[in-house]
Amino acid sequence: MEEWLRFLEINAPRILELTLDHAILVTLAIIVALLIGVPLGIYLTTNEYLAGTVLQVASVTLTIPSIALFGVMIPIFSIINQGIGFLPAFVALVLYSQLPIIRNTYTAIKNVNPEMRDAAIGMGMKTSQRLLRVEIPNALPVIMAGVRTAVVLNIGIGVIAAYIGAGGLGVLITQGISRGDNYLIISGSLAVALLAIIADAILLFIQKRFTTKGIAN
C-alpha cells in the first residue's frame, strides 16, 4: 500500500495528463463519428440499397483487429507522412465507431411508430421538422446506446494506439511491459477502466436528461 502511495505521488500528474490525452482522442473521434454516422444513419432509412451495403461494410470494419488496422494504416498514412501518431489512431477510432452509431440510428429511426410518422405528416410537418421534433427525440435513447457502445469500445482500442505513438493511457501499459513494472500496468489499466465507466455514466446521464419524459420508459 505504501509503495502504491509513493508510486502515485510521483506519477499522478502524468497519469492525469495521459488520461486527458486519451479522453481528448476518444472525444474528438466520437464527435466526428457522430457528425458522419447520425446523418448517414438517417439517410439510410430512405435508401434500402445503400443501407445494406453500408451496414455490411461497417460490420466488417468492426471485425478487423485494431492492431491489424493500425498495421494497415501506417503504410497508407506514410504516403502523406503521417504514418505514426495522432491521425491514424483518430481515423481508426472514427471507423470503429461507425457501426454502432449508424446501425443504432438506422434501426431507431426505422422503428419509430409509423402511425406517429403519419400523424406528423398529416399535421403538415416538413421532413426536417418531422425529423427534429418527432423522429430523433423518439429515437434518441437507442442512438445514445450506440454512442455509449462506441465510446467504451474506443477507450479500449485507444490503448493499442499507444503502439503507433498516439499517446494516451496505453503508454503506461506499454512502458510497464517493457520495464516489467506492474505498477504502471495496473495503474494504466485501472485508469482505462475508470475512464470507460465514468464516460458511460456521463453519457447515460446526458441521455436521460435529453430524453423526454414521455418516452423515458
Binding site: 445503400l50 443501407a51 491489424a68 488496422l69 493500425f70 494497415v72 503504410p75 506499454t174
Partner: protein, 245 residues
C-alpha cells in the same frame, strides 16, 4: 427509386474499388513479399496464431457456458447481479493489460498468452449465455414445468435451444475479438502473426506490417463469416425469428 439504387451500387463499387486499389498498391510495392520469401516463418506464425485462438476459445467456451447456465439457476440467482457487475467491469479492462498482467503470474511465453486470451474470452460468452437464458419468456418455463418436464429437460429442450442464438453470437464475438487480441500475444512472447506487425512498427517496415496485418484481418473476417453460417445451421428454425426481434 433509381437514383437510390445508383447511389447504393456506386457506394458498393467504391468500396470494392478501394479494397482492390489497396491490394494493387500493396502488391506493387511488394508489401506481401515476406509471405513468399519467408514462407516457413509465416506458416509457423500462422499456426501459432491459430493455436492461441483455438485453445483459449475452446477452454473459454467450456467454462463460460456452464458458468452462465449455473448462475441463472434459481439457487444462484441472488449472486447474478454481483457476477454480472464483475463481468461488466472486467470487460472495461484493456486486453493488453490482461496480457501484461499475466506475465508477472506465469512469466513469458505461449501458455501465458493462451491463459490471458482464455480469461478475456470468458466475458462475452458468459454475458451472452446469461442474457440468452434470461430473456426466455417465463411463460415458456411455466408451461414446461406445468407439463411435467424435469429441470434438465427444461434446460436442454427449451432453454438452451431458445438461447442458442445469443450464446453462439457471444462465442462469435469472443472468437473474433480473440483473433485480434492474439495479435498482441507478441508482447508476452506468445508468438503469432502479431510478431510481424510489431516488427513492422518497430522497424518502420511496411512489408512486415502488411504481411502480418492482412492475414490477421482476413482470419477475423473469415471466422466471423463461418461462425455466422454455423449459427444459421445450429439455431432452431423457429427460434431464429424470435432471436432477431
Amino acid at each position: 427509386m433509381n437514383t437510390k439504387k445508383l447511389i447504393g451500387n456506386s457506394f458498393r463499387f467504391f468500396i470494392y474499388g478501394m479494397v482492390l486499389l489497396f491490394f494493387i498498391w500493396a502488391i506493387k510495392n511488394q508489401y506481401f513479399s515476406y509471405i513468399f520469401s519467408e514462407t516457413g516463418t509465416f506458416f509457423v506464425l500462422l499456426r501459432q496464431h491459430l493455436e492461441l485462438v483455438l485453445v483459449s476459445s475452446i477452454f473459454a467456451i467450456l467454462i463460460a457456458v456452464p458458468a452462465g447456465i449455473l448462475i441463472t439457476r434459481p439457487k444462484f440467482r441472488k449472486a447474478e447481479w454481483l457476477v454480472t457487475n464483475i463481468v461488466n467491469f472486467g470487460q472495461t479492462i484493456p486486453s493488453l493489460a490482461v496480457l501484461a498482467l499475466m506475465i508477472s503470474v506465469l512469466g513469458i511465453g505461449f501458455q501465458t498468452a493462451v491463459f490471458a486470451l482464455f480469461i478475456y474470452s470468458i466475458l462475452p460468452i458468459f454475458r451472452n449465455t446469461v442474457a440468452g437464458l434470461d430473456t426466455i419468456d417465463k411463460n415458456l418455463i411455466d408451461a414446461a414445468k406445468g407439463m411435467g418436464m424435469k429441470p434438465h429437460q427444461i434446460l436442454f429442450r427449451i432453454e438452451l435451444p431458445n438461447a442458442a442464438y445469443s450464446i453462439l453470437a457471444g462465442i462469435r464475438t469472443a472468437v473474433v475479438l480473440n483473433i485480434g487480441t492474439a495479435a498482441l500475444a507478441y508482447v508476452v512472447g506468445g508468438g503469432g502473426l502479431g510478431v510481424w506487425i510489431f516488427t513492422g512498427i518497430q522497424l518502420f517496415d511496411n512489408g512486415f506490417l502488411i504481411s502480418g496485418a492482412i492475414p490477421v484481418t482476413l482470419m477475423a473476417i473469415l471466422a466471423d463469416y463461418l461462425l455466422r453460417k454455423l449459427e444459421y445451421v445450429l439455431v432452431p428454425k423457429g427460434s431464429r425469428r424470435v432471436a432477431k426481434a
